[in-house]
């Protein structure tokens, strides 16, 4: 049964690439699986309403971020389907994502940037603060890689880090090595 759960989640756990898709992925995945977005295309008016409700439900977004995400959803998850221009932009975005360096790709492709920035605490600690905390701890990298994949316990505060089970060992290591190198 968890096989069915994992498989269907994975299939719907990635948003269509396009302007704003990475921000949308990062913000939405903090609280719930991306399937909530992908399973029911709606009109722009409905997506605007959904975004208001998400703010009510505690989603950490600035007004600018709300605008970008609304545009993205109304374009790529519209009941009418994305326009030709949007599809072209999507192809470009997909290409840019593929061409990006591996760390950027991983950061954008997962929910990391919904809660973390390189230098300012957001919902979670800044990457450079994580690096500072674990500097000189040779076992930290392996532990943190496991944590990123399996989910956190709220070391930095009340908010636990959601799990990222889709991350391979290699990708988790790449991310953590990068994080721990931040200053």
């Amino acid at each position: 049964m968890l096989a069915a759960l994992g498989a269907s989640a994975a299939a719907q756990d990635r948003l269509i690439p396009g302007p704003g898709s990475e921000l949308t992925q990062a913000k939405c995945a903090i609280c719930h699986e991306i399937g909530y977005v992908t399973r029911a295309p709606q009109s722009r008016a409905q997506w605007e309403e959904v975004m208001q409700v998400m703010v009510e439900r505690g989603a950490p977004m600035t007004p600018d971020e709300i605008r970008v995400i609304t545009d993205y959803l109304a374009t790529y998850y519209n009941r009418e389907g994305p326009s030709a221009a949007a599809q072209a932009a999507s192809a470009q975005a997909a290409a840019a994502q593929a061409a990006a360096d591996p760390v950027t790709r991983l950061l954008n492709g997962n929910a990391c940037l919904g809660c973390h920035t390189p230098d300012k605490p957001l919902v979670g600690p800044a990457f450079r603060d994580v690096a500072a905390k674990y500097r000189g701890d040779p076992a930290a990298a392996a532990r943190l890689a496991q944590k990123v994949r399996g989910g956190g316990q709220g070391v930095w505060g009340q908010v636990p880090m959601p799990p990222n089970p889709g991350l391979s060992d290699a990708d988790a290591k790449l991310l953590i090595d990068w994080v721990l190198a931040q200053r």
Partner: protein, 416 residues
């Protein structure tokens, strides 16, 4: 396990069912036979480390019957199809799951239920305190407002329950909410009761799920504060140690992990009252956004499911077809259930089981000789005692609530 006559594209169920089937072929069948949900190794390695104070999904799902279908992991939801509901009383391992947030892991010995607001005496109850009050057991329907949402076209926003998922009728044990309210003494302007629970979300800014009901429903004898389900303690996923049970009304009024009862002079104003669980006051064109003046979802409408036969069961011509199912009608009673074997051209009256508890579903059955060969559909249509009959397709609404379209099951009849 697909009903190919369904005019509605139900996406999730067939895919999950196929994957289950393939997983079993791959050699998990021995373990599957042991009962519960098996955690495949690949997922077990990546299993989430759940936040402190919560119950992991894995621990919840292993207690569910084989064939229970999760619809989402965050938050956890899942249900069974109608053909797995062929019981007079829904067994605990078949009861649907609908979380809005995470599953809290509560200590019953420390749990406190507070009664506050427009009362003469705000009160606090431990579980032991509540168990000193007169208690009772009743079988009562619980159904998610969005149960059956997958039936709506175009797709409506929300958990994609199977067309016959998101419901159950177990036995509940507890006290009448009215007895607790009487102890506190409701003031004359106390008109609504708001329930709040101990579940929390992924971010500290996530508001609690608070739902209120009007006093008239709150003071019905069957509206309860329950600690028991089918003769045992509530499982953690179903609200341990306490929950409200507002029978016949949308499931969200039955708040799990209940810790707060607040008496108000008006409906609670909050996101789970105002942005969810609302239906338009008049029928809208499919695809429209919610118009202003939307109504709060309260009592369920008349509904039925066919629990036998299963989709694509096979029969021999000349044999006997036994149809069984369940029917219910919110605050009303079931008056009539009819069955059609010819897509609604003609209907036969089913035999209704005796009415058990007021809010229990009504079991029905019909035996019919099978006198033709080929693919055959069985439709069930219930009518309540106020004359409300199930529609073919219910009115579309933006959040996909109250699906109560007539249920159709297809079977195959072969030559004798």
């Amino acid at each position: 396990m697909t009903d190919s006559t369904r005019p509605i594209d139900v996406e999730e169920a067939p895919r999950s069912a196929r994957r289950e089937f393939l997983a079993q072929l791959a050699g998990l069948s021995a373990l599957a036979a042991a009962g519960g949900a098996r955690i495949p190794e690949a997922l077990a390695q990546a299993a989430p480390a759940d936040p402190p104070g919560t119950v992991p999904n894995e621990a919840v799902l292993t207690q569910k019957v084989q064939g229970f279908q999760p619809h989402s992991a965050r938050p956890l939801t899942g249900s069974i199809p109608a053909e797995m509901h062929d019981f007079d009383v829904t067994p605990t391992d078949r009861m649907y799951i609908r979380n809005n947030l995470l599953t809290p892991d509560l200590d019953a010995s420390k749990h406190v239920l507070r009664v506050t607001g427009l009362v003469d005496k705000p009160l606090e109850f431990s579980l032991a305190d509540l168990k000193k009050l007169p208690s009772f057991t009743t079988q009562a329907m619980l159904e998610c407002a969005g149960s059956g949402r997958a039936g709506y076209q175009p797709k409506a926003s929300g958990t994609p329950w199977l067309q016959t998922g998101g419901m159950g009728c177990p036995r509940w044990t507890g006290v009448s909410l009215s007895d607790v309210l009487n102890l506190a003494g409701v003031k004359p302007n106390g008109r609504h009761i708001a329930f709040s629970g101990e579940d929390f979300g992924a971010v500290p800014t996530a508001p609690k799920v608070i739902r209120s009901i009007p006093m008239a429903k709150a003071t019905e004898r069957h509206t309860m504060i329950a600690w028991g389900m089918n003769g045992a303690d509530l499982p953690k996923i179903h609200g341990y140690p306490l929950r409200s049970v507002v029978p016949g009304w949308v499931g969200s009024a039955s708040v799990k992990w209940l810790s707060g009862i607040d008496v108000l002079d008006a409906p609670f104003k909050g996101t789970y009252m105002d942005s969810s669980y609302r239906v338009p006051a008049y029928p809208v064109e499919p695809g429209q956004k919610m118009p202003p003046g939307a109504l709060s979802t309260e009592a369920w409408v008349v509904k039925s499911i066919i629990t036998t036969p299963r989709p694509m069961d096979r029969y021999k011509a000349g044999g006997l077809l036994v149809v069984r199912g369940s029917a219910w009608a919110g605050d009303n009673d079931i008056d009539l259930v009819e069955i059609s074997f010819n897509e609604g051209v003609s209907w036969e009256r089913a035999k209704l089981d005796v009415q058990r508890d007021k809010y229990a579903w009504r079991r029905f059955s019909l035996e019919a000789p099978i006198n033709r060969v080929g693919y055959m559909t069985i439709l069930a249509r219930a009518t309540d005692d106020k004359g409300n009959m199930q529609p073919i397709i219910p009115a579309w609404n933006p959040l996909g609530y109250f699906w109560n379209g007539i249920h159709r099951v297809g079977v195959l009849v072969e030559k004798a």
